[in-house]
Amino acid sequence: MNETPTKPDTTDDILSQTTSGEYKYGFTSDIDTDIIPAGLSEDVVRLISKKKGEPEWLLDFRLKAYRHWLTLEPPTWAHLKIPPIDFQAISYYAAPKNSERPKSLDEVDPALIDTFNRLGIPLEEQKQLSGMAVDAVMDSVSVQTTHRERLAELGIIFCSFSEAVREYPDLVRKYLGKVVSYRDNFYAALNSAVFSDGSFVYIPKGVRCPMELSTYFRINASGTGQFERTLIVADDDAYVSYLEGCTAPMRDENQLHAAIVEIIVEDRAEVKYSTVQNWYAGDAEGRGGVYNFVTKRGLCRGDYSKLSWTQVETGSAITWKYPSCILAGQGAVGEFYSVAVTNKMQQADTGTKMIHIGSNTRSTIVSKGISAGNSQNSYRGLVKVAPQAEGVRNYTQCDSLLLSPTCGAHTFPVIEVANSSAVVEHEATTSKISEDQIFYCNQRGIPTEEAVGLIVNGYAKEVMNKLPMEFAVEAQKLLEITLEGSVG
């Protein structure tokens, strides 16, 4: 950070300061964690399953996934430079040492509570004030779930994945791996074999979830990967808005995060999934940071169902993530709103897939990329219209903003249309902030730094507007931190 902020004269000066933004969540909390030795083998998979006291069928699922994973190679098609990952050097399980699940907040390790407080999610406060139910996943085990009782009255199940396996095995078994199969890709197979915990949400028929459900992920222990799994099922006419936030402490070595999110949306149901991702991005030279390799997919199985993904991606050294919608029901709607900011040496290859199978399905994609420093930011998307899907409509817009002469912004859309009644549009522009706009602001007495902030915020507004209120504020804050120096 610049100790004494000098008044920068030109846009370039301001933009060059972007590399000085420091990661604010880079602290480690000293919490006793139970880590199993590094390495991956069938025994490790069995050990994870045993530690979590899982039933036989889940162990089978894990072992099948593990055996399949052995036959796969890491994908190389993305526009990313991924250093070789030693999968045997990672510990696949790290749980806070508290064998008994805490019954109330008093039983939770005070250091952990403090960690959450520093993250800005004081559990107690949120319980009363924000009306959110938070299921915090630290390292790999879900620590605390709030608001359970109120949700339970409505028949909504919101709990950690392990708990769901214990208490609702039939539901979990019915839906697990139905949208993202363990055969899907390299990281999905890995996650299916070693996933440690995550969240499970079930909204019964006709229930509108009265509050926003939220999960906060944080990788704390060093040398561990986080492999969480989220499964959301919205039954007929149900509605839920789900928030996910991620941070990780600052470390020199890279940490792997390979998660799976599966969403099933039945008839006329609606799911809104919002993510603010701020994993540690590594330092200015690209040391450390999280590898965020995530498979997120929703199946809009029901007629007139709707799934909306909103993501603000500011962190991670490498992001490889394509939240997708399979629009199988008649008239299903898929939406994808994304702001991806890369700075320093970050790399992001992110986008979405909209697979139109049902007739009269509609999808909207709005992707805003912002690149600064020496980063590379790619949008990659697929819009596919199956032969039987009549009357499909898609609109895609992906814009890129370049903030430095050494960064890169790329667009790789793929459109496959096999039905003549489809209307598919794709639009994209790439440019830097125009001198005219900055000059205009200067002329009106707005310093360049603030002007850049205004323009970037305005540029991302279309997506930010889609975020729930509580998140929008945090996302705005993150955008500022990530582009610190250029955003006032």
Binding site: T411, I415, A422, S431
Partner: protein
């Protein structure tokens, strides 16, 4: 046949027949030697390329067992019949390539000062190094099998108004693979127009045309290349254009697909110089089970360059169109203005269209945009025309033609532009490509143009 095996057999065949090439000039021998080294690596690339429809992938295209005219035997073709198709018979310097053998017509023998055209079999020694340098990046399989080709050279400051036309003909009873090559070397401040036409007169014989066009556009020069494909469903084609542009040069490339089988067009353009303009456009009318893939990679390296890409497809019946465009703006390419547009009409239930308009940008002083749409004709416009007494089918044809018009209007060579309007209209009316049925009509329609 498995593709790798097919490639292996071609290589073995060439090595075994080296005696046949004893009289070949140095240039073809050098192409062959280079290709032998690079082919194995390229085969892997062929196999890995998932960006085009499976039918257009090179290992699929080259897999059938085609014969090759290694002995460079003269083949016969009814040149007169080909002229009935409408495109030829312009006032131009005409060359006819029958199979893979180049024939110079009388019009190509008296060339104006500054324009030189040679067969690659008798290219003067002084030009060999240039021809080889321009051909640096060519499809290896084409280089390996090549026995003939055309070298066109325009000297410095020579502006040639009359176009050079190359008519590719095919007539054979046995399945053939015909490697073809055109090398265009445009000197500083020169101007040249090249017209390429593909025809086939053997509807029943499977044929694969492998054509590589290598272009060097020197400083301040302008080169226009217009390609028209009007062959048979049995004729497949792999067409590759490799071009490089020097400072302040202009390159215009347009391809028109009217008839044919499976066509895979590739465009690799390197804009190395500053202040260049590049226009890349293509249109395709696809019916039956025709498949066309256009894959363009435009690499901007110089400053202050602009490029325009416009590709349009009208896809009928069970046809399948594909567009893959990539604009790369390198870090050195400041103030680039790049636009890429792909518009498609799907006119029947079984038609398919894939589009992948990509941007890869490593520089911030840049204006780049791309757009792709796939849809149908405007129902309201159709209704309006019907309400004015135009039958629906006729209205559809008119609207489709209007949809295609701006690609054709991009063509600055007026005679060709007018003729293409006519040809596209005829194509949409369902007129056969076979000359026997339309010869007179063609002539009477276009003779005055």
């Amino acid at each position: 046949m498995n593709a790798a095996k097919a490639f292996g057999q071609y290589t073995a065949l060439i090595q075994a027949s080296s005696g046949l090439f004893a009289n070949d000039p140095g240039l073809l021998a050098r192409f062959r030697a280079k290709a032998l080294g690079s082919l194995p690596g390229e085969i892997e690339k062929y196999k890995a390329d998932k960006s085009v429809p499976a039918e257009c992938r090179l290992d699929t295209l080259y897999a059938p067992d085609y014969g090759i005219n290694l002995q460079h035997l003269q083949m016969t073709a009814d040149v007169a019949a080909a002229f009935h198709c409408g495109v030829p018979n312009l006032n131009c310097y005409l060359m006819v390539v029958v199979g893979d053998v180049v024939h110079f017509t009388s019009s190509a023998e008296k060339l104006p000062e500054g324009l030189e055209i040679y067969s690659l079999r008798n290219i003067p020694k002084r030009y060999m190094a240039d021809a080889e340098a321009i051909s640096e990046r060519s499809d290896s399989l084409n280089s390996l099998l090549l026995t003939d080709g055309i070298y066109i050279r325009v000297n410095e400051s020579c502006r040639i108004d009359k176009p050079v036309q190359i008519v590719n003909l095919f007539q054979s009873d046995t399945p053939m693979l015909t490697p073809r090559r055109v090398i265009i070397d445009a000197g500083a401040a020169s101007a040249l127009r090249v017209l390429l036409c593909d025809h086939s007169q053997s509807p029943a014989t499977p044929h694969l045309s492998s054509e590589v066009i290598n272009v060097r556009v020197a400083k301040d020069a302008k080169v226009e290349i217009y390609d028209i494909e009007e062959s048979m469903p049995s004729t497949h084609r792999h067409w590759q254009l490799n071009a490089s542009q020097d400072d302040n040069s202009e390159l215009v490339v347009n391809t028109t697909y009217l008839h044919g089988g499976v066509t895979a067009n590739e465009y690799n353009i390197d804009v190395d110089g500053d202040g260049c303009f590049t226009s890349l456009s293509g249109l395709a009318v696809l019916t039956g089970e025709q498949i066309v893939s256009n894959k363009a990679v435009l690499r901007h390296k110089g400053c202050h360059c602009s490029s325009r890409q416009l590709f349009k497809n009208a896809v009928f019946d069970k046809a399948h169109g594909s567009f893959g465009g990539r604009v790369v703006v390198e870090q050195s390419a400041m103030h680039t203005d790049a636009a890429q547009t792909n518009r498609n009409i799907l006119a029947s239930a079984d038609a398919r269209m894939d589009a992948s308009p990509q941007l890869e940008i490593y520089c911030d002083e840049v204006k780049a945009s791309h757009g792709a749409t796939t849809g149908q004709l405007d129902e309201q416009a159709l209704f309006y025309m019907q309400s004015r007494g135009i039958p629906r089918d006729e209205a559809r044809r008119m609207l489709t033609q209007a949809f295609m018009a701006d690609v054709i209007d991009n063509i600055s060579y007026e005679v060709l532009r007018q003729r293409l309007h006519v040809l596209v209209e005829k194509r949409l009316n369902g007129d056969s490509a076979s000359c026997s049925t339309c010869a007179t009509a063609c002539h009477s329609n276009t003779a005055g143009a």
